[in-house]
């Protein structure tokens, strides 16, 4: 036959000849007593063991009892003091005797109430007498206390003290009796037979196995209990990078707002990065140290000839009857120099020019969420590489109100509703606005982007004859506003902290 592990352990420990207590089995099998008790009842049901139950009475001293066992009973201390005061011969003064006995407080009352009862003498009108024949050494109660004081708990039938003495002590609150049920098991005939036939252990099951399920054994087995409260081993699992998640959300939002995604080179000619943006060639930003020029390769092979000519004319002469150009040099070789793009507006110029995907007819909306490069000092809010949310809307008669409305709509999708606009200057937009948001933890106003309506000097050479409003927003700054990050370096790049990436709260 097959039995559970705990049942087998009980059968192997108990005997057919003499009763074994549950506690004894527990100790021998190293199982918890409650497990053994459970197994014993299960075995009884199977007719494999007989259970004998008896109620054991145990006695133990109360705290007061322990004290008296140590300091002796108050009435004895009073009697001895009285004898010392000569009260065996003639009555002595109560006050003196009590003082000499060293009794205090409740001890005095206890001594007085038991003194006469136990025949140590009498007390009358403030005087005390002591019976010379009384023998404090053979006080039954005192002796019983001494006996019981040796063991913390004693079985009632093992105590060599008269029952009425125990009753007396219990009444005085010096001892407590308690009862407990003791079960003892004896193997039945059947158990002996089965044991001889051999009993297999049905192990408790840790893992549910295919065999268990197909054999139907799952119905017989016991599933091991787990500590369901304990922490499990740490598991990380896959996760999309937090900045990438934000980028994806931005893309999703912009696609939802009707924008088409742009794509194009990271290494590009200054022509597409700056000249097409009506940035004069001697503009500080173009010679500024924050540009990443390329050592190798140095120049783009081809630029569209007509476009180069048109861009040069716009730089030199301006656009329109009243237009004026820059009073700055313009050189095609300079425009052909390669650099890591400082903004993804290079994608916008490529798309707007028709070079990337052909002519685009208004109305149109385009965007990209791509990397840009600035040779800036690396600090908590500035990276050498970061993501720019580039976007533009091409339509007839766009206004600055349309521009502001688009931002309000966009940032509201991320729960940011306190965008501020500051009129600004860019060489390629007019009017222009910087955008600011409030950092959720530091409360500082953080610049989050730059925007405006593209100048005609930029659009005319590209062949666009309607309005285009455009912007470049910093994805990392949006992330900071959303999550409250203060040091962007923890997130983006090889200096990243996996712990932070793993533990950043999921937002949606």
């Amino acid at each position: 036959m097959q039995l559970k592990e705990s049942q087998v352990a009980v059968l192997e420990t108990a005997s057919a000849d003499e009763a074994t207590s549950v506690d004894a089995v527990a100790e021998a099998t190293d199982l918890p007593p409650e497990t053994v008790t459970g197994a014993v009842f299960e075995l009884e049901e199977e007719g494999l063991v007989a259970i004998e139950e008896r109620v054991d009475e145990t006695i133990s001293l109360t705290d007061e009892g322990v004290t008296y066992a140590d300091e002796r009973l108050p009435e004895i201390r009073l009697y001895e003091a009285a004898v010392d005061a000569g009260a065996a011969d003639e009555p002595a003064q109560m006050g003196q005797v009590i003082g000499a006995s060293g009794l205090e407080g409740a001890g005095v009352d206890i001594a007085l109430s038991n003194y006469a009862r136990k025949g140590y003498g009498s007390i009358d009108s403030g005087e005390i007498t002591a019976d010379p024949d009384a023998d404090s050494a053979s006080d039954a109660e005192a002796n019983a206390l001494e006996t019981l004081a040796d063991a913390e708990e004693t079985a009632a039938d093992a105590v060599d003290v008269e029952g009425d003495v125990l009753d007396g002590l219990e009444r005085r609150g010096l001892l407590e009796r308690s009862e407990s049920t003791v079960r003892e098991v004896t193997l039945t005939e059947r158990a002996v037979t089965e044991l001889m036939a051999g009993i297999e252990t049905a192990e408790t099951v840790g893992q549910v196995t295919p065999e268990l399920l197909t054999s139907g054994e799952w119905d017989e087995v016991e599933f091991a209990e787990y500590n369901v409260e304990a922490d499990a081993e740490r598991f990380e699992g896959g996760r999309v990078h937090i900045l990438r998640q934000t980028a994806e959300r931005v893309k999703e939002t912009l696609v939802g707002m009707g924008f088409q995604e742009m794509e194009g080179p990271h290494v590009d000619a200054d022509f597409w990065i700056n000249d097409c943006l009506f940035m004069p060639q001697d503009h500080p930003a173009r010679t500024h140290w924050d540009r990443f020029a390329l050592e190798a390769p140095t120049h783009i092979d081809d630029l569209p000839d007509q476009l180069v000519a048109d861009v040069e004319r716009a730089h030199r002469e301006g656009v329109g009857e009243d237009g004026e150009g820059y009073h700055s040099p313009w050189d095609e070789e300079f425009a052909r120099a390669l650099a890591l793009r400082g903004h993804t507006t290079s994608l916008s110029t490529r798309y707007l020019s028709g070079e990337q995907i052909g002519e685009i007819e208004p109305p149109a909306r385009f965007f990209s969420v791509e990397k840009v490069y600035r040779n800036d000092t690396l600090d908590p809010t500035h990276l050498l590489e970061f993501f720019q949310i580039e976007g533009w809307v091409m339509a007839e008669d766009l206004s600055v109100r349309d521009l502001m409305g688009t931002f309000e709509e966009f940032y509201a999708q991320f729960g940011i509703t306190d965008i501020e606009f500051k009129p600004h200057y860019n060489p390629y937009t007019e009017p222009s606005f910087e955008l600011f948001g409030t950092h959720p933890t530091t409360g500082e106003l953080v610049e989050i982007g730059n925007s405006g309506i593209f100048r005609e000097e930029m659009l005319a050479p590209l062949g666009v004859d309607c309005d285009v409003m455009a912007w470049g927003l910093a994805l990392e700054r949006l992330l900071m506003l959303m999550y409250g990050f203060e040091d962007i370096r923890d997130i983006h790049g090889t200096l990243c902290d996996l712990k932070l990436l793993r533990e950043t709260e999921v937002t949606y």
Binding site: G258, A364, L378, Y425
Partner: protein, 575 residues
């Protein structure tokens, strides 16, 4: 962004608004786009300015804008100019690289310390902006009483702009007691050293002479003889440069600033030699105004509001402009807008509309969502990247996002490969010119180095660290128009006590199955990986990557104490 220091007391005095408190001033300045950044040690406001309104580089220009802002001034103001007495004669010898000069005489100047400081600051800020660090335009201001004009043919004093031998005449430059030749100034004088690069290639150096000799060595330094002090009453302002328009505009800004302090302007004649410019004679400063024609309809569409023409004229006057209504050939309402001579930023009618918007208050405009219907969508490459990333995350990878710039050491050396090795990941990298940081000198040619750097920085974090990145990589490629082939690559590493080749292969197989491509992994050699545990990633018959167990030498180099297996291949292969 550049800043300009403005003394609030001077600002109050020049605006005539003595009652304005500092906080109120700051708010008004912000309204003009001048953001308060802090205070200087002397208590002046440090204001950040956008580099369009270069007429606001001194307290005088800021005060002028403020008076328009308050409505205390309206319309265009042009100071009067007395007839020219002095002439600047440009000699044939002037260096071809720096042929242009302009100038003005300013009389009855009464500069106190603050006034002088403001003038010096204006000079510096103009040098830094329009002057392109003095390359395009450089300013010299002199005490006129210390100058002696050559006896002129027509009875007026002249000075000469000439080209001189670098080791020719000597003069005592500012902040010096020694007589030096121009070449010695470039070598020995601190200011000379700073600006030496501007002229050191010239055959002849630019110089200005009066009857007494050389007194200015533009664009480097003035002579000490004509140094301006608070005692100076009459000034000679000269500017040289590579573009006449630029120095003339810089001169206008300086003249306006001095006129605002009560000085009188006097013209100077500039005589160019016969030759390319045909013996041109100019009278400077050129304080003539310009006119731009701005269509009423355009103002309304850009601002997105309806305006009456009275309102437009009012906004123009409050911007220091003047507008008159006209009708163009189509019968549309337009304005002839007069632009004052100190404005350098008005290239196009759109710039006038920006002024009108600022005067109206852009922040008073109600945002609205544009009523334009378009259809949105993702680029195919970006969809592919997303799809692969989703699979990688499903396979248990933590997605990473690393820098595209890296160093040679990280990209090659620490992975035991060289740029010209014939192995996956090697290649000729696009390099950065004059990199500021030795950590970022080139674009990475593969992704695995970045992933190992992240492992290296996170050895104190819990393992396993299964990291992946779909990353940008680049290599020099002459067949591309830009000369650079830009590719996305799928890189992955598995780092844990039990990581091995098979774990990497299992995941790579899963990816291949999901994208329905045929994967083979024939053995190969690659110095980054352990021999015998390295294979090429061949997808649909093409070798597109590498897979293997990272070599202990590479692990130890990255301070890693656990095995790492990984793969990298071209994203395009899953297309």
């Amino acid at each position: 962004m550049p800043t300009v220091d403005i003394d609030p007391d001077e600002l109050r005095e020049l605006t005539g608004r003595e009652e304005k408190g500092d906080e109120e001033l700051k708010e008004d300045l912000f309204g003009l786009g001048l953001e308060f950044e802090g205070r200087t040690e002397e208590g002046a406001f440090e204001l950040e300015f956008a580099p369009d309104r270069l007429d606001r580089l001194s307290v005088e220009g800021v005060a002028r804008s403020m008076r328009y802002h308050y409505g205390d001034s309206r319309g265009v103001y042009v100071p009067s100019t007395n007839a020219a007495e002095w002439t600047i004669v440009v000699d044939d010898s002037v260096p071809d690289e720096r042929p242009y000069v302009t100038g003005a005489v300013v009389r009855n100047v009464d500069l106190d310390e603050e006034g002088l400081e403001s003038l010096i600051q204006l000079q510096e800020k103009l040098h830094a902006t329009m002057g392109r660090k003095r390359a395009k335009g450089a300013i010299g201001i002199h005490d006129l009483t210390m100058m002696k004009g050559n006896p002129a043919t027509e009875g007026s004093p002249t000075i000469e702009y000439v080209g001189v031998e670098p080791d020719g005449d000597r003069f005592v430059p500012l902040d010096s007691d020694q007589e030096l030749t121009p070449a010695e100034v470039l070598e020995e004088h601190q200011t000379g050293q700073t600006y030496a690069d501007l002229v050191s290639d010239y055959e002849r150096y630019p110089a200005i002479y009066d009857e007494l000799g050389l007194f200015s060595f533009p664009p480097v330094i003035n002579g000490r003889r004509t140094e301006v002090s608070t005692d100076s009453r009459d000034l000679f302002v000269e500017m040289t440069g590579t573009d006449q328009w630029t120095i003339d505009k810089m001169l206008n800004i300086v003249c306006y600033a001095l006129a605002a302090r009560g000085a009188t302007l006097e013209s100077v004649t500039v005589e160019y030699p016969d030759g390319d410019s045909g013996g041109r004679e100019l009278v400077r400063p050129d304080l003539s105004t310009k006119t731009k024609t701005v269509a009423h309809g355009r103002i309304e569409t850009i601002l997105g509001i309806d305006l009456g023409s009275e309102e437009v004229i009012d906004l123009a006057e409050r911007s220091g402009l003047e507008a008159e209504t006209e009708e163009n050939e189509n019968g549309d309402l337009v304005y002839d807008v007069t632009i004052p001579p100190y404005r350098v930023d008005v290239l196009h009618p759109l710039d006038v509309i920006d002024d009108l918007g600022r005067a109206y208050g852009f922040n008073d405009l109600e945002p609205k969502y544009p009523d334009v219907g378009t259809v949105g969508g993702r680029h195919e490459r970006s969809r592919l990247e997303d799809a692969v990333r989703t699979q990688l995350v499903g396979l248990g990878f933590e997605d990473l996002l690393n820098f595209h710039m890296i160093s040679e050491a990280e990209n090659f050396d620490r992975l035991e490969i060289a740029p010209d090795d014939d192995v996956y990941g090697a290649g000729d990298p696009p390099t950065i010119k004059g990199p500021y940081s030795e950590d970022y000198t080139m674009l990475r040619t593969w992704v695995t180095p970045s992933l190992l750097m992240v492992l290296e920085r996170n050895t104190h974090r819990a393992y396993p660290q299964d990291l992946a990145e779909i990353g940008f990589t680049a290599a020099v490629d002459d067949s591309e128009n830009t000369g650079v082939a830009e590719r996305r690559r799928v890189g992955a590493v598995l780092a844990s006590h039990e990581a091995g080749y098979e774990d990497a292969k299992a995941r790579l197989q899963a990816l291949a199955r999901r994208f329905d491509v045929d994967l083979e992994t024939p053995p190969t050699d690659h110095p980054t990986y352990i021999p015998g545990r390295t294979a090429s990633v061949v997808i649909d018959g093409e070798e597109v990557g590498v897979i293997g167990e990272v070599h202990p030498k590479v692990l130890v180099e990255h301070d890693l104490e656990v095995p790492v297996a990984g793969f990298e291949f071209d994203l395009e292969a899953l297309r």
